[in-house]
Symmetry: C2
Subunit: 340 residues, 2 copies
DNA sequence: CTGCTTGATGTAACCGGTTACATCAATCAA
DNA sequence: TTGATTGATGTAACCGGTTACATCAAGCAG
């Protein structure tokens, strides 16, 4: 039942454990016939080295710990996909760990010590400074989309501010003036940055910002659309802080018979697969999450190899112009003819 | 730099490693003042136990290895979500590992020995018997959606045959007769089972099966739709082996001006989130993948705890009737009026 | 034939925990 | 007083690998 150990193999092959270890690790200084004998015995005994023991003696786990809040939503699974790709290229495994509450969070991180060589931390909802303070300094880490004031930890972040501003400028260039932002929860760092970018670009364009606070869920988008329909007030564009809310708004507007984009333009953020498939297709800021995940792993692998790394790296989202913002606004029905 | 060890703590607190270990693991037989002294020293030194070493001596890794082909698509990320949930409930971590080619597959599995307590294997594209043959018998495993002839390994599988047959019966009940199946790659076990279920139900209904072989990708669905449009041949329903292909077909038909579902009905399999959101919304067989993942972990946890488990468990997909099959077919345009 | 180099192999310490067992002092019944 | 019991603590083996260093035989120059 229990597996054979290296000592079993050594005994059976009448050699020392050192020779077996050398054969297993492909060292060259072993006589061919000895090597063959050991290989034969290992095969006969169905021997495979115990990775845990190997980790302990080499103090390399060949694994990266990935700490994230919840796998819900496309965001994290995409990130995971990118990490997984980058990790398996480098012969690394990924050790997943959920981080629900902030209380057990630090403790959880320590659980990882000795089983991973590095840590990717994605926790937009947890105070990262507290997290970092409790972090074992001996284990290289990288923060992904965390707001931290500390600059002594490698960080990878989406340029949410710049992306939101770029979207506003796009809408303005299409002649939109009444641009409402449907935001994420203000406790979320990313949501905050997008609000700030939106407001900055609005002010820059001489327009008055108007923010409806949402929660990144489809329903919040629908609710925002409903509120806008109740008091249109010159609104000719809805810019949601993520695609799901944009889609919620889109469907609500469509159901209410509003012409998109002629009457009201809609824009999102993230470019989830759905954005391209829904009709009318959704203009959005593409965030290449898988790429960010892959880069996190790459940087971590470098850090583990010894390259020091304390940089903040920003990933710039890309504007994807689709049907929901294709045209300039058209005054609806009997309102004043061609006034601005 | 390097972290403190249990011996450092013992020396500093002037006690033995055994006492430190006892305190760490919450054993009761330690004098309160000794306990406090040790806790103080541990905190002062920033000591946290090395999980790898602990694993080695207890031979419990508190981790489940998850072996899957590729994170692509919603399928695996959903499964992962369910597993993650079930695992963190039980204090287990998930160790991910990609399994691309079949060659390095067995080797890969052994890489896991000593770092996981059990294995979830999802590999619809790899010959599972070969996989199992090379599997270390000492490590409990469960196969998810694998075709295997062996019945000595716990297995969890979607009833693809039954699901496909149920979908055909639904279409037939809606008056469809020219039902084409767009399949997945025939090397894939799940695709095969869906083909078989489709064919069986068609024959049962006295209809002639017609299968177009696809590859589970959106484009394959579009291509199948194009082919059908080239030679309609009485086709009034497309049943794709997964939702992505169904959506590909849906969009292609819509772009070609085909009325859905009046002229051609469309159905998929999986019920990805997109299915509900696209318009017209897609009829499909709901597979609760997250639940399957969670059950895999649960059964594995039981097996690790000692409960023997050699059952095959089938998960029955549920028919989700949406817009793409809502109505009965209507003859298009100037064709024969109310024939049939 | 001697001394030195070289390559293959073995010995044992080490990685950092856990834990069976030994030890020892204190308590208590006889 | 003494032997048994109990509870706290220490010692050292063990988990299963890796590897620095020791050992030893063979090859070879002088």
């Amino acid at each position: 039942m229990a597996n054979a150990t290296i000592r079993d193999v050594a005994r059976e092959a009448a050699v020392s454990v050192a020779s077996v270890s050398r054969v297993l690790n492909g060292h060259s200084n072993v006589r061919p016939e000895t090597r063959r004998k050991i290989e034969d015995v290992a095969a006969r005994l169905g021997y495979f080295p115990h990775a845990g023991a190997r980790n302990l003696s080499t103090s390399r786990a060949h694994a990266i710990g990935v700490v994230l809040p919840d796998l819900h939503g496309e965001f994290f699974s995409e990130a995971l996909r990118g990490m997984d790709r980058a990790a398996s290229e480098r012969g690394l495994h990924l050790l997943l760990s959920n981080l629900h509450d902030g209380e057990r969070a630090v403790e959880m991180l320590h659980t990882m010590r000795g089983r991973v060589d590095g840590l990717v931390i994605m926790a937009p909802h947890i105070d990262p400074d507290r997290l970092l303070a409790g972090l074992p300094p001996s284990i290289p880490s990288i923060l992904v989309n965390c707001a931290t004031s500390r600059d002594d930890c490698p960080t990878l972040r989406v340029d949410n501010f710049g992306g939101a501003a770029a979207m506003v400028r796009h809408l303005v260039s299409r002649g939109r003036r009444g641009i409402v932002h449907v935001s994420g929860p203000t406790s979320n760092v990313e949501a905050r940055a997008r609000i700030d970018g939106y407001e900055a670009a609005m002010v820059e364009a001489g327009l008055t910002p108007r923010v409806l606070i949402g929660d990144f869920m489809e329903e919040a988008g629908a609710a925002a659309a409903a509120e806008i329909l109740r008091a249109p007030d010159g609104v000719d564009a809805i810019f949601a802080a993520n695609d799901m809310m944009a889609i919620g708004a889109l469907i609500a507007l469509r159901d209410a018979g509003v012409a998109i984009p002629d009457q009201i333009a809609v824009a999102g953020f993230d470019d989830i697969p759905l954005a391209r498939l829904i009709s009318p297709s959704l203009t959005t800021m593409r965030v290449d999450i898988a790429d960010i995940g892959a880069r996190a792993i790459a940087r971590l692998a470098d850090a583990i190899a010894g390259t020091p790394d304390h940089r903040l790296e920003l990933s710039t989202p890309e504007l994807m112009i689709r049907d929901t913002t294709k045209t300039s606004p058209r005054q609806s029905g009997e309102k004043q003819g061609k006034a601005r």
